[in-house]
């Protein structure tokens, strides 16, 4: 197990290449918070239960290797705005080796 590299585009449009550990039971929302790429209180409000939509993001690349959306995730996306085909809740995406090279853009604050 080792770190993978992800590209995260923040809400201002700036791209950050960051390391994400695959062996710490982390999800994408937590990686964004770990690197402080979105202000505290504007992302991961529910803590990662798919019960708010504050970690809404767009998957620009590698969308196909992601796990399918659960019923809960699809439901919560109803409370987000500017939802696109590639919209996901980043808290529902566990960090695995398959995600190496993933590019993701954080959606605007609702």
């Amino acid at each position: 197990m080792s770190d993978i590299k992800l590209t995260i585009i923040d809400r201002e449009g700036e791209a950050h290449v960051v390391d994400a550990p695959t062996d710490m039971n982390m999800n994408l929302m937590e990686v964004i918070r770990l690197h402080e790429l979105a202000p505290e209180g504007t992302i991961g409000i529910c803590g990662g239960m798919a019960m708010c939509a504050s970690c809404h993001c767009y998957i620009n690349y590698k969308e196909l290797v992601l796990p399918e959306k659960s019923f809960e995730e699809e439901d919560m996306l109803d409370q987000a705005f500017l939802v696109e085909e590639n919209s996901r809740l980043s808290c529902q995406i566990p960090i695995t080796e398959e995600l190496e090279g993933l590019e993701v853009k954080i959606a605007p604050v609702a």
Binding site: P39, E40, I45, C52, Q79
Partner: protein
């Protein structure tokens, strides 16, 4: 004017437990919360979710934790101002504070404790550039008085329970109800979904799915909405009201303008001593505060509440010395006259 010893802003788990700790020191509390019910996130976001790290509870539902806290603080008869948001704070000559809500309710206390979590829950507003111009001029995020919509045309947006329930209710009140939703599927309770489908078939609800409201038009009052469908088709729909019902999200809100030191969307406090902010007499506890090593956990909020109360006591009674007593020893003497005490051992001597 509501007068109390400790005015607590935020009725989540930390705010509620602060009432208990204050009560042991014979200090009365009053709580303000923007939500209509106590419990904060625990009751608003995840009441049916289990929590596993409350000491002494291997597993407890967030909603049950709220119920238990309310039971625990009952002897100390806290006051509540619910459904109102703390808006302004003002310091009086006697060093006490007056906090006024958005509805004008005034509260006076020598100590103010902010236990506001991530802030007050506000409706999520769709990103339509001119939506603010039509607020209360055809755009409403809450439905207070359904009669208001009698014989009016209403467009509701959203796919959750409240969008479904209000569509059903207003179908009999309004002259026309349209429900606009991003998907074909709805998230609500099964019978609400079925009812909407039924009403749609008989033409009582105009269901517009795989669509989004993207524009608002009107000179002063709302006159129509622009609906964009998935296939890029656009439709202008005449309406008297647009009701976006997309749930609530917390915002730090007016508290951010109270002159408190803010860092990372949280209030800086002195964690080496009493969780006081940079303004003496104003404390911040629970998820709303920050300090080196802060953990946003309910159990940390409980600890901070207990420490804060000791300092608040000294501020209110500078000449008194309080000696901490275990509840097992001192019992719990409620302001309502109730007394909880450890049972005395029965002793009988043998002659």
């Amino acid at each position: 004017m509501i007068k109390t010893d400790i005015l607590i802003i935020g009725a989540g788990p930390t705010g509620l437990f602060a009432v208990f700790e204050a009560g042991l020191l014979k200090l009365k509390c009053h709580l303000i919360d923007a939500l209509p019910q106590p419990g904060g996130q625990c009751s608003e976001i995840y009441p049916k979710k289990p929590i596993y790290d409350i000491p002494g509870f291997p597993e407890i539902l967030a909603g049950d934790l709220t119920t238990n806290l309310m039971e625990q603080i009952k002897p100390f008869s806290p006051g509540f101002t619910l459904g109102e948001r703390a808006e302004t704070i003002e310091k009086l000559e006697d060093d006490s504070f007056v906090v006024t809500t958005n509805k004008g309710t005034k509260h006076n206390a020598p100590v103010v404790v902010i236990a506001g979590g991530l802030g007050s829950f506000e409706p999520r507003k769709p990103p339509i550039s001119n939506i603010a111009d039509f607020e209360d001029k055809g755009v409403n995020y809450f439905i207070k008085e359904p009669e208001f919509f009698r014989n009016k045309k209403v467009v509701i947006a959203g796919g959750g329970d409240s969008a479904l329930d209000w569509s059903i209710f207003l179908a009999d009140v309004a002259s026309e109800v349209s429900l606009v939703h991003r998907r074909n599927e709805f998230r609500g309770a099964l019978d609400s979904v079925e009812k909407v489908s039924e009403l749609s078939k008989i033409g009582k609800i105009n269901l517009i799915t795989e669509a989004e409201v993207v524009g608002l038009n009107g000179s002063n009052q709302l006159e129509s909405v622009l609906i964009k469908k998935k296939n890029s088709e656009e439709e202008i729909k005449e309406t008297d009201y647009f009701l976006p019902l997309f749930g609530l999200s917390p915002k730090l809100g007016p508290i951010a303008d109270w002159g408190l030191e803010i860092e990372k969307n949280a209030i800086k406090v002195d964690n080496s001593y009493d969780y006081q902010t940079n303004i003496p007499g104003i404390y911040a506890i629970g998820d709303v505060n920050t300090y080196p090593g802060k953990l946003k956990l309910i159990l940390c909020g409980f600890h901070e509440a207990a420490i804060m109360c000791q300092s608040a006591y000294q501020r209110i009674f500078p000449d008194k010395k309080y000696v901490m007593k275990y509840t097992t020893v001192g019992g719990v003497h409620g302001f309502d006259g109730s007394v909880k005490e450890a049972k005395k051992e029965v002793v009988k001597s043998i002659n």
